[in-house]
Symmetry: C2
Subunit: 411 residues, 2 copies
């Protein structure tokens, strides 16, 4: 039997009615002759509640206990989904991460998948089971403790299962009906894309478009998993949603295909750092060890052998970053006069594979922002995207102005 992977996010399983609705979608695919692997998130709000409790209990928590706590929401939905399918007459059972077992490394709270054995689940498919419901977001470490894959990790679970089981497609059911040129909540003219290239999606995902977890897109690109994003709240045809696919499958593309933003950015500056070889390695090595995801980096012009070093990271990692940087100062590995954190910034980016062959996009972007009186604090670019860090209060304005000026509302 061909295998289909279907992933339902938190809003798609937010209550028993929605679980029933999702189960009906699964039933439709089973009726078409698929063996289906369903990946479920926790009911919406549940994971946040658990994360809140952990943070309140222990601000610098033991990530192994964090994982044990926050993974529990998915177990609930997996069991309820299996029961709902059974109630509909569809043979189904649930699997928790450790039962598959979905093996990961031991990087707790942001573990990476190492292996998904297919024998257990395939044996059950062989016995007539039609749907394997798997709790997303979670796995098991070499030591036998529960790991989680980071926020949005259920997308990665889904793609990894699709790769392991050589699924025909991986359908990601969510609360939006596809991938948009930008967030429709802050730009009314946002337009749904029928197709988007893996690489564009990757940039959009990593830039804060919360439709798919970055790693899930990376994984889909590497293993050529056909990925479809679609709404669980609408009747669906086979062509619904947005297909994330190879560049070659897309006939023509705009220069800029999307405007992304990220609100939860912080800018941190180390003032008056001794400018000598190895200093960047010391700083970013220690941040990496502390699990801080550094995004943009700028180093000022050096003056009298000292410089300022600025970087950005997610707002919720600021405490961790501060702790790491204070530690290396106290250990004498680094000397700086001050550490300044600015949590009032946002990142706005334009993305498009067309940029590869078209010049002047950056200049146009800077001009648009300048026309709106928005000051650019940090710039980074890649082959297919340009990102700027700006004052957070201008974020919506910047997104709207860029969407208009690049005419993203037109196909």
């Amino acid at each position: 039997m061909p295998v289909l992977v279907m992933k339902f996010g938190g809003t798609s399983v937010a209550n028993l009615d929605r679980i029933r609705r999702a189960a009906k979608r699964v039933g439709v695919e089973v009726a078409k002759g698929y063996d289906v692997i369903v990946i479920v998130s926790a009911m919406s709000g549940k994971t946040n509640e658990l994360v809140g409790w952990v943070g309140e209990t222990s601000p610098l928590y033991d990530a192994r206990e964090y994982d044990a706590v926050v993974s529990s929401g998915e177990n609930v939905t997996a069991g309820l989904m299996a029961l709902t399918l059974q109630e509909m007459g569809v043979p189904a059972r649930s699997w928790q991460g450790w039962q598959v077992p979905l093996k990961t490394n031991d990087a707790h709270s942001q573990a990476r998948i190492e292996e998904i054995p297919t024998d257990n689940i395939n044996a059950k498919f062989g016995e007539g089971m039609k749907v394997a419901v798997v709790a997303g977001f979670q796995g098991i470490s070499p030591e036998g403790r529960i790991t989680t894959l980071g926020r949005g990790g259920s997308d990665t679970t889904a793609v990894a299962f699709a790769a392991a089981f050589e699924a025909e497609r991986c359908d990601i059911y969510t609360d939006v009906d596809g991938v948009y040129t930008t967030d429709p909540r802050i730009c009314a003219k946002a337009r749904k894309l029928d197709k988007i290239a893996f690489e564009e999606m990757l940039e959009l995902a990593s830039l804060g478009a919360k439709v798919l977890q970055t790693r899930s897109v990376e994984l889909a690109m590497r293993f050529k998993v056909k990925l479809r994003v679609l709404s669980s709240f609408e009747e669906q045809s086979d062509e619904a949603g947005t297909l994330v696919c190879d560049e070659e499958e897309i006939m023509e593309s705009n220069v800029v295909n999307g405007v992304a933003y990220s609100r939860d950015e912080a800018k941190m500056t180390l003032i008056s750092v001794a400018d000598r070889p190895g200093i960047a390695a010391t700083i970013f090595g220690s941040l990496s060890d502390a699990g801080v995801n550094v995004d943009m980096i700028i180093q000022n012009i050096s003056e009298d052998g000292r410089t300022d070093m600025t970087f950005s990271c997610p707002t919720d990692q600021v405490a961790r970053a501060e702790q790491a940087l204070v530690a290396i100062k106290e250990q004498g590995e680094l000397n700086y006069s001050e550490l300044v954190a600015d949590t009032e910034v946002a990142k706005v980016s334009v993305v498009g594979i067309g940029m590869r062959s078209q010049s002047g996009v950056a200049a146009k972007m800077f001009k648009i922002l300048s026309n709106e009186g928005i000051n650019i604090q940090v710039i980074t670019t890649s082959e297919i995207k340009i990102s700027v860090l700006i004052d957070r209060k201008y974020m919506e304005l910047a997104v709207q102005a860029l969407h208009d000026a690049f005419e993203l509302d037109k196909a």
Copy 2:
């Protein structure tokens, strides 16, 4: 190091403040030099919520999925308790049932513990860990699926750990400060007992006094585990609460030591059953196969080769019982004219080891109830208890009258 088992029920871990309070109690015992095993329930209300969702999804649920869902609440509390202890500087980690692994049989939703290997946890104690926090109520079946031990199963988990680790004592922290002569909520004169014999506690537990799960008391009696019930809401001395112990440790005892009741009883009657050998075996065999816990049984005088058969079972098993009895009728194994369920009954019992040597207790009990105009529907007795099934609306009245007449308010 001597080992102490401490179990905290749902109200004792209902929120982060209460978990902190419980953790402080654990810290006190660690400071005395104990290696502590903490067994936690789910935050109060959580398990009921999960059970409700399962029931709403699938009235005759797959017990394997039920277990996967309802066991999740304990995982949350175990992780949060470990984090709280760590935050207090006490080396601690959490274990889920399958990680211990707490091995059970495959009787899902009412599984029995088969083995608790001690090596994993003892190895960690050897490395300096002071507290193992274990999610109560759950285990793992031979097939590797999650099992649960039935409502109140965390008590059984606690006693089983105390037996396996040869703990000095098993302290059950709950929302009451000990075992009472009856429920203080319905009888203001109820008096706390300093000590109670295992056998009395067993009868009280099985009769619906919800302080301890029946099986936990059975297990404690079998393995001679010193069991103490005490409040997590009061400052505690070593003598607080009620000690459940061997009969020999109790100097003198009243004839009746407790009045128990159970509200969730149903009376079912099979009308006009053919009275021939093997019929009771057929009826109660099928009920047992269906997982119905039959309590009291009466068979009427036979007339014209037919009789009525009455039994009681928990209210929430009525649907299951009906299904089983209809099935054997349809299969031609049993013939009866009607099946009547009365869910408006309650069971009231008096318990005391003194009954063994004192006669007339039953007569006195019936007289007391008769004086109050309460009709007795079914009677059962054991060496140390007498139970009656009565109309539920008289339940409180019966308890108060019996408590008064047997002078249970006096030590």
